[in-house]
Amino acid sequence: MSDVTSLAHLTDEEKYEHFMRRIENDEKIEAEDWMPDDYREQLIKLITMHGISEIMGAFPEKEWVPKAPTLHRKLAIMAKVQDEMGHGQLLLRVAEDLLKPYGKTREDIMQDLFSKRLKFHNVFHMPSPTWGDAAVIAWLVDGAAILSQTMMLKTSYGPYGRALKRICQEESFHSKHGESLVLSLAEGTPEQRRMLQEALNRWWEPLLMFFGPKSSKETGHTNVDKNLKYKLRSKTNEELRQEFLTKYVPKIKLLGLSVPDDTLHFDEEKGEWIYQEPDWQKFKEIIKGNGPKSDERLALRRSSYENSQWVRDALAEYRMAAV
């Protein structure tokens, strides 16, 4: 741990230098370590959004839990959605520890969610009207999430890295589950194939949006820049989107499905995918909580939370009685 033997006498500037040296040496920062406010705030922004997205991500799929066509599918999608709630739990715990110096708890995170101050991923604001959507979500939304989560596995913040490691292990089941759903529909009747193609059409733009607007070098997006500087992440939004296209476009074509973008092609000279830019204005609106399903899903979360306040009150009371 470099040449510092005591932190107590360092100025803030020296602490910052020491901290940045730790980052550069690929040391892991732990919850109680000294960290610049800027680092803490970036982490809080990133991890609360990630955590709450996992929780809100349960809703578009939840609809299909009881409707899943077979007993096996019912069990598998239940397990998958449960994992997502579990990811939310792991990540919120990491965020909650970071929020401590501000005196905030999970309760505040929930209230921030309800008031739309806390954002969640664009994809979870979208409708999922058919079983085909459940398949495309599990294959491609999870596929996109896996790319960005794997990219962050080496993150400089220790607790986040440990949570991500576990999450990525579970995501490997999600991607198998997703592939299995998609393959069954693709192998199926014309009706099943139509259901799959329509779902893909619905999800294509949200999927491209998922990675966020082009960043740093392209547009000078500061959050991504900071996250790169602090080694919270190692790739830009566009790099991830390109990876996604490279990984999935050939598979989509192999299944005989079409991508709803006539301009999509790989430019050999530039060595990158050319695609129809998603509507970033629309993206902004969705993220703000003005997507097609934002209000409905937030209402669902809020009403169930308020509805069960008596349960939390009762348990808090029971604990005190037992002491």
């Binding site: 939840k62 449960q82 009706e191 099943q192 669902l300 349960v311 009150d313």
Partner: protein, 265 residues
């Protein structure tokens, strides 16, 4: 296997399968809506276990030539279902995607009642002379300890805290007591089930349940509402059900029924 034995055996297997299937479905509707994130995750495991148990029983029926397990779960009419009516009741008012006003107290009590009974029943089924069923019971029992621990913890804590909680729990206890009788019964073929050596007597199991539940009640200073639980809304073992079951089956089979040409999903 005589035709009579087979008929009574399938009747029992449908009761076991349908109880777990419908109960797991009601539990799974809570996904994303439980009172606490950690509980949401834990509860979902119980629902998966329970639906897994239903699958085991449907497979036993499939092996007896009653049809594919998936068809049995998804294509029968409500009148063919043999679950206790208590298990099919909605979790509360509203739909699971549209302003659900789910009742956690009802869920805790219903699960406690059911899981205490399920453990007793599985212990009895270990002695069944239908070997595949005895084996299934042994397997399923391994997961039952946790379920009981989980619901007993909830029950004890909610019964011994705030006044509001106590009142809600007592209301739920009354409601579940009204129809738990329909879970404890074996239905019209009950005597034959026991006479053929498939399962211990209905009376004996019911008394064990009453003894265990009374013990739990006394721990939290509660007296049972009457001598025995009732069967106020019909005997599901004989195919009598509420509108809640029709509704549930429509949801459960919506996709499975949607494409009659489909050979796989």
């Amino acid at each position: 296997m005589t035709p009579e034995y087979k008929e009574v055996l399938t009747e029992l297997l449908f009761q076991l399968a349908d109880d777990d299937f419908i109960h797991a479905f009601r539990g799974s509707e809570w996904l994303g809506l439980a009172p606490h994130i950690e509980e949401d995750v834990a509860f979902s495991s119980i629902n998966q276990d329970t639906m897994g148990h239903a699958v085991i029983y449907y497979k036993l029926l499939e092996d007896l030539g009653m049809g594919a397990a998936d068809d049995l779960a998804h294509l029968r009419d409500a009148s063919a279902f043999r679950n206790g009516v208590l298990l099919e009741f909605k979790n509360g008012s509203g739909e699971y995607l549209d302003s659900p006003q789910y009742d956690w107290a009802f869920t805790v009590v219903r699960h406690l009642f059911y899981d205490v009974y399920k453990k007793i029943k599985l212990e009895a089924l270990k002695q069944s002379n239908y070997e595949p069923l005895a084996n299934a019971a042994r397997k399923i029992l391994t997961e039952q300890t946790y379920h009981l621990m989980h619901w007993q913890t909830w029950f004890r804590q909610l019964m011994q805290s705030t006044e509001e909680s106590r009142a809600r729990m007592e209301q739920a206890l009354l409601r579940c007591w009204e129809d738990m009788g329909g879970v404890l019964t074996y239905g019209q073929y009950g005597d034959e089930m026991t006479a053929l050596g498939l399962i211990g007597s209905e009376e004996a199991l019911k008394n064990t349940w009453l003894a265990e539940i009374t013990k739990l009640f006394s721990e939290v200073d509660y007296k049972k509402p009457s001598d025995e639980p009732k069967m106020a809304h019909g005997n599901g073992r004989n195919g009598e059900h509420s509108a809640d079951l029709d509704h549930a089956l429509k949801i459960l089979s919506e996709v499975y029924r949607s494409d009659s040409q489909a050979s796989g999903w």
